[in-house]
Structures are given as structure tokens and as C-alpha cells.
Amino acid sequence: MTGDDIWGRLFNFANYGELLALVQNSIIAAAVLGIVGGLIGVFVMQRDMAFAVHGISELSFAGAAGALLLGVNVVAGSLVGSLIAAVLIGLLGAKARDRNSIIGVLMPFGLGLGILFLALYPGRSANKFGLLTGQIISVDIPQLGLLITLSVVVLVALLLVWRPLSFDSLDADVAAARGVPSRALSLGFMVLLGLTVAVSVQIIGSLLVLALLVTPAAAALRVSSSPLLVPLLSMLFGFVSAVGGILLALGGALPISPYITTISFAIYVVCRIIGARKAAGGRASARRPLVAAR
């Protein structure tokens, strides 16, 4: 295969307008997920939950694979797996160390279970692969509606608990002393995370969920520490990665996930470079006003 062939398979914009119309709903779903993923990612980073996201996504995969085997709604199966994992991690893993060991135990179990279900499933192999690496284009309209609804629910819920959750993420002891219901909030957050992961599994696949739930927030944190700008940037990065990935992937016959993960990664790299420059330039001047004030 020549370089031109590979290029042609990677990017092909023939009949682009018609294709665009066909996948309009997928793009909306990806856009909403990109925004929600970027927003919840800010808390995932602050609460040190990246590993938990990965753990939840493997159980979500098992749930989806089980649903595929039984011939029931795949999104529902994915949701069940996600929520079970999220609640278990929330209940048993209050402390970071407990949490990591529980995730480490759950994750291979979930993945193994999923592989078993897929091996038993007699249908098309593209469906199988899709759960691991994404299949947004093949999700039908009613399911897309469900994905969008779930994302909006998470978005609204996050905004309503924003302040107490920020307080709890920063310093759970002080937040509890100030009357923040720390335990309920942690569990609630895990449920929201579970919902977001279940939606992400449908769009970019369980193996790549981190690209929308962690990378955008990690990138935003590199360039800002404003409590307003970080979530806004993170949502923007998630949106650009998810929608940009679909738009680029559209013409080719390849899965969309690599496009999303690559854009997301490229944004992170750029932010890291900008962050490093800022730190180098700022170190000399940052302390000056402080010294002057004394």
C-alpha cells in the first residue's frame, strides 16, 4: 500500500455534504459528550480519578457486550455496567489507596467478562470491535437521543453541585466541617461519572474513554488556573476533539476514535508547551508583586 493509498483511506472528502447530513445526529451527540466530558474531567483531575474512569469503562464494556449477546439495548447494558462499577468504587474506595486497589481488581474482571460475552456473540464482528474502539456512526437515532439526554442530565447536575463539589474536591475535611454532605456528594459524583462513561463508551469505545474525560481537562489545567477558564477551555477542547474527529473521519472507512484521540492529544501537547513557556516566563516576574507588598 502506497502513501497515497493510506492518505486516501485516512482522509476522503468526496460526497462530503451528503455524508454530513446522514451523520448529523451523531455529531450532535459527540458535541454534547465533548462538552460534558470536558466539564466532568475537571473534577476527575482534581479528585485524582483518572484510573477510576478507566475502571468504570471496562465494566461498562462488559455490560454493553452482555447486552449485545442477549439482544437487548446496548446503551442500557453499558449503563448498568458503568453504574455498578461507579457505585462500587464510590462505596468501597473512599480513600485513594483503597480505591486504586478496587479498580485494579474490577478492571480485568470487567474486561474478561466482556471478552467472554463477545466470544459467545454470533453476530457481526464490527459490532464487537465497536464497543472497544467506538461506533458512533452505527448508533441508531433513538439511542442517540438517549445519549444526548443523559449528557444533558449530567451537565445540569454538575452545575447544580458545582460549588460544594469543588469544596469537597479541594479539602473534604474542611468542606465537611462547613456542612457539605461529603459522602453523598462523592457518591453522587461517581454516579454522574458512571453516566458519562456509559455515553462515552458508545461514542469512542471503552478503551479510549480517557481521551474525552481526562485529556481535555489535563490540557486546560496546563494553561490556566482560573476556576472559570479551566472548565471553559476543557469543554472547548472536548468539543473540538469529538466533533473534529467525526468531521475528519467521515469520508474514510476507518473508525473515528483515532481521529478524536489524536486531536485531543495534539491539544494537550500544545497546551503543555504553552504552559511550560508561561512558567518559564512567569517565574521571574510572579514573585515581584509579593515582595513589593511586604
Partner: protein, 275 residues
């Protein structure tokens, strides 16, 4: 402030015959304690003597095994906004998306659910608090880039947000340099003088606050002694408490406790001696 005038003031915090154990071991029992408005009580004692548990009891996060504890005349409630809490200094990791003023803002509205729409009244209150604790000059810098002392000043501001009648401090000076130890303890002292806020100050080293302490509660080995510093920080009193000869040495305005048995004190014994 809604407390009664100091002369006749009822206690802000009152333990009656309080007892608390941990894992089958009694931490303290028969504790009668009254802290009045504007009073500065230092709680001393080795690790594992129940200092932190005492704070948790006052915060309503732990129940007494027996006896009662009351705050401003009523039962302790969890998350009572009339109690300010200053934790041990835990450095905020660099890269945390918060500026200095956001830390204080959490004290003002961090418990509030609902859409995070900024209010002018909150912002004004935060400005006021920042000014109170002298943190205005670095209020807009990322918290993670501030020194431990600067972060701790912000935490004092955060704790004062609810206009507390009682300020609980859990080793707030730990790992601060002398300059910041003095600055932070002065902030706390000034607050109780201007606002009649009672202070319960847990520390393993009394020296940074020796000048401002009214009374001491010394916990050790399941027992306790209380009184003014000159009544408690004495060789005979502490020897009796520890059940072994302990020397209290006063030198250049500092108090040094020598000979605390190892079993009572796991690793910060030397802090207490050397600091």
C-alpha cells in the same frame, strides 16, 4: 455577633463529664470544660492522646461515649456554620484551578448548592476577608504557587467567612517557618480580641502561641489537666499526668518539656523539645 457581653457570657463550648475512647482504649473521660467567648484554649498532648478526636467531637463528626457537649447552649450539629475550622496545613497541589481568593470564596459560598452564579455580596465579603487576613496582594495568584504561610492565611480567611463564635484550629502552624507561625497566630489572636470569638487551638508545641494562650488543656495517657499555662506547664503537674518524672524548663520565654516517655509520643517528641 450574637453572643452575650463577655462579662456574664455563657460558655461558647461546654463539655460535661465527657468521655471518649478509641479501639477499646479510653482517650479521656470525666472531661468538664467550658470555653467562654474570646477565650484562647490550647489543647496540648502527645500523638494519640485524643486531641484530634476532641476536635471531631466538637465538629459533630464523632460522638461522645458518655457525657454531653454543647455549643452556644445547644446540641452539637454537624456542619454548624457558627464554627470555623482551620485544618493542618496541607499544601494545595500546583495546578489546582483555584486562585487565592477562590479558597476564601469557598468558605463564603462553598456549601451552597445551585448554579454557580457569582453574587456581588459574596465578592464583597471575600474582599473584606482577604483584607482582614492581609492576603489581598496575592489573592489573584494560583493557590498552588503560594507558600505554606500564605496558604494558611487564606485558610484563616476561609474559616472566618461564617463569622464564627468558635474557631477550631488543628495544628495550624505545623511546618510553617517562625515568621509565618507568628503571623498566623497573631491573626487568630486578633480575631478573638476584636470579635470575642472563642478559640480551641490544638498543637503539639505551645511556644508559638504561649503569649496569647489563656488556658491549657493537656491530654496524656487517658488523663488530662487544665488551667492557665503557669498552672499546667509545671514539672510536678506533668510528671503526675504522665506518671513518670518530666521536667518543664522555661528558657528565654519558651517552654521545653523534657523526659516525655517514648510510649506516649511516637515521632514528634523532638519537635516539642527542640522547637
Amino acid at each position: 455577633m450574637t453572643v452575650a457581653p463577655p462579662a456574664l457570657a455563657a460558655p461558647v463550648l461546654e463539655f460535661e463529664n465527657g468521655a471518649l475512647g478509641f479501639g477499646g482504649r479510653s482517650l479521656w473521660s470525666g472531661l468538664d470544660l467550658a470555653v467562654r467567648p474570646g477565650e484562647f484554649l490550647a489543647v496540648l498532648g502527645p500523638n494519640g492522646s485524643g486531641k484530634t478526636s476532641l476536635l471531631k467531637t466538637i465538629l459533630g463528626q464523632q460522638r461522645l461515649d458518655s457525657g454531653t457537649v454543647r455549643l452556644a447552649g445547644h446540641e452539637i450539629r454537624r456542619g454548624d456554620r457558627s464554627v470555623g475550622y482551620i485544618p493542618q496545613q496541607k499544601l494545595v497541589p500546583p495546578g489546582t484551578p483555584l486562585r487565592g481568593r477562590d479558597l476564601v470564596t469557598l468558605g463564603v459560598n462553598g456549601h451552597r448548592f445551585g448554579p454557580p452564579i457569582p453574587r456581588r455580596s459574596d465578592r464583597e465579603r471575600v474582599d473584606e476577608l482577604l483584607d482582614d487576613v492581609g492576603a489581598t496582594s496575592y489573592a489573584n495568584q494560583p493557590v498552588g504557587t503560594l507558600s505554606g504561610g500564605e496558604q494558611q492565611r487564606l485558610r484563616v480567611g476561609q474559616a472566618l467567612a461564617g463569622d464564627p463564635v468558635l474557631l477550631l484550629c488543628d495544628e495550624p502552624l505545623l511546618s510553617l517557618d517562625l515568621h509565618h507561625q507568628r503571623a498566623v497566630s497573631e491573626l487568630i489572636d486578633r480575631r478573638r480580641r476584636t470579635h470575642d470569638t472563642a478559640v480551641v487551638f490544638v498543637t503539639h508545641d505551645v511556644n508559638p502561641v504561649l503569649d496569647v494562650v489563656d488556658r491549657i488543656l493537656y491530654l496524656a495517657g487517658g488523663q488530662f489537666r487544665q488551667g492557665t499555662p503557669s498552672e499546667v506547664l509545671r514539672s510536678d503537674v506533668l510528671s503526675d499526668l504522665y506518671g513518670t518524672p518530666v521536667d518543664v524548663i522555661r528558657s528565654h520565654g519558651r517552654v521545653i518539656v523534657v523526659g516525655v516517655p517514648d510510649g506516649h509520643d511516637h515521632h514528634d517528641h523532638h519537635d516539642e523539645v527542640a522547637e
